[in-house]
Amino acid sequence: MIWQQLQSIAGSYPLALRGLGMTVVLSLISLVLGTLLGFGLGILRTGGNRLISGAIGAWVDLIRGTPFLVQIFLIFFILPELGIELDAFTAGIIALTNLAACFICEIVVAGIRSVPTGQVEAALASGLSRWQRMRQVVLPQAMRIVLPPLVGQYVLLIKDSSVVSAIGLTDLTRVGWLVVQRVPNGLLVFFLVGLGYFIVCYPLIMLARRLEQRMGAAHGEVQL
């Protein structure tokens, strides 16, 4: 019986590939946009403007403190009520990008705050502008702190992308739901779905671990 089921599942591999493709594309776009936005927010959050900093802090707390499923529903079902029409893909990208940006913002803020004030004072004293101080002095040093948790966060966000199946996007998780209606073996089907995610995430997990080791070693070593 299991052979029949496996054959039946194998028959839907084009669908599975499409689902995997959707998961990868969705994750990739959101992670790139979310990283850019997250760095921007993190830099603004640590900037001198209290109003901007406070507003970003509040938004980040709000997003971190509510379930992602709820955020997706709000974007996909509530925004159209306000006259903003979104297809499921765009809604998914917006929700994931926003989530990624908020988590990455916190990571970037922690990195920036880890740079000793003496570094900023030295840059300030030699007349570097605000952006030059950030670009030349603060960010390169913050990256040592930022990189390992950043890659770890990517793994979490790829897995969170499975929630977009709730608004009808045919990603890997939704393919699982579709297949399981034809092949009544949830254990097998979702084992394979999980395997799909794992194949995408595992290289990143390895990368995060290597980065952590490299950064950890760099602290004790002579060369930075």
Binding site: G118, E121, A125, V222, L224
Partner: protein, 247 residues
């Protein structure tokens, strides 16, 4: 109005919370003058020179640097800072950049000097402070004395009009102090306007025109090194000198 000095404090006050860290400071430093600031720890000497390049802001009074009044909206603080070199007690070299990159960063990005030209000038400066062979070393590969000399070269790279030193040798092992002081003497002898917070009395005697003694946020005494060391006028300066000269 009388002629103003390169650095001019008039009735400057500063508070940290309720602590009056600078009390009624009035002090004028002429171009090419070397002023040594000394005093017990917590007397406000670091705060005094940190105000000059705006690392600290003053509460009231007037502080004019190179003819520009600090806190005046017309004063471009970033531009003014390019004319003021600041040497920190803890060096504050950029750890992710080589000695040469530390020296050339501001000339390239702030002064907009072409990279090749800036690097040539940077190599010359590093040679001048005795580090020609350390051009490509990272700060963590250098001793404290070497790091501080790179930091001085980094300031000189901007061709500043003023150089401020905040206890430049206090974080150094004794055998490295003289190599840094030698560089500072050379800079002073080239006619740099300098304010130096230090307890290195040998340096003060050698190059300073004036020693300013601070206690509890106020300037208590000010005079030539000879006057100050051989004939301190106040009890507080006598007590201070007896402590630092005893050993």
């Amino acid at each position: 109005m009388t002629k103003t000095g390169m650095i001019e404090f008039r009735g400057v006050n500063k508070w940290f919370g309720t602590l009056n860290v600078l009390r009624d400071i009035t002090l004028s430093v002429e171009p090419r003058e070397v002023v040594v600031v000394c005093g017990p720890s917590g007397s406000g000497k670091s705060t005094l020179i940190r105000c000059i390049n705006g690392l600290e802001t003053i509460r009231d009074g007037d502080l004019t640097v190179d003819g520009q009044r600090l806190g005046d909206p017309a004063t471009n603080m970033t531009r003014l800072r390019t004319e003021i070199g600041f040497v920190f007690q803890s060096f504050n070299l950029y750890p992710h950049k080589t000695a040469l990159e530390n020296v050339t960063l501001a000339p390239i990005h702030v002064r907009k000097i072409p990279r090749a030209e800036a690097e040539e000038a940077g190599r010359e400066l590093l040679a001048k402070v005795g580090l020609a062979d350390k051009v490509n070393a990272y700060p963590a590969q250098l001793s404290g004395g070497q790091q501080q000399r790179v930091a001085i070269a980094r300031c000189l790279g901007m061709r500043p009009k003023i150089m401020l030193f905040d206890e430049p040798t206090s974080a150094l092992d004794p055998e490295m102090i003289s190599e840094v002081l030698d560089v500072m003497v050379a800079v002073a002898e080239e006619g740099m306007t300098m304010m130096v917070v230090t307890h290195e009395m040998g340096f003060a005697r050698k190059v300073a025109q004036r020693v300013v003694f601070m206690d509890a946020g106020a300037i208590v005494e000010s005079g030539t090194p000879d006057e100050f060391f051989s004939n301190p006028k106040t009890d507080r300066s006598r007590a201070f000198l007896s402590k630092i000269l005893r050993h």
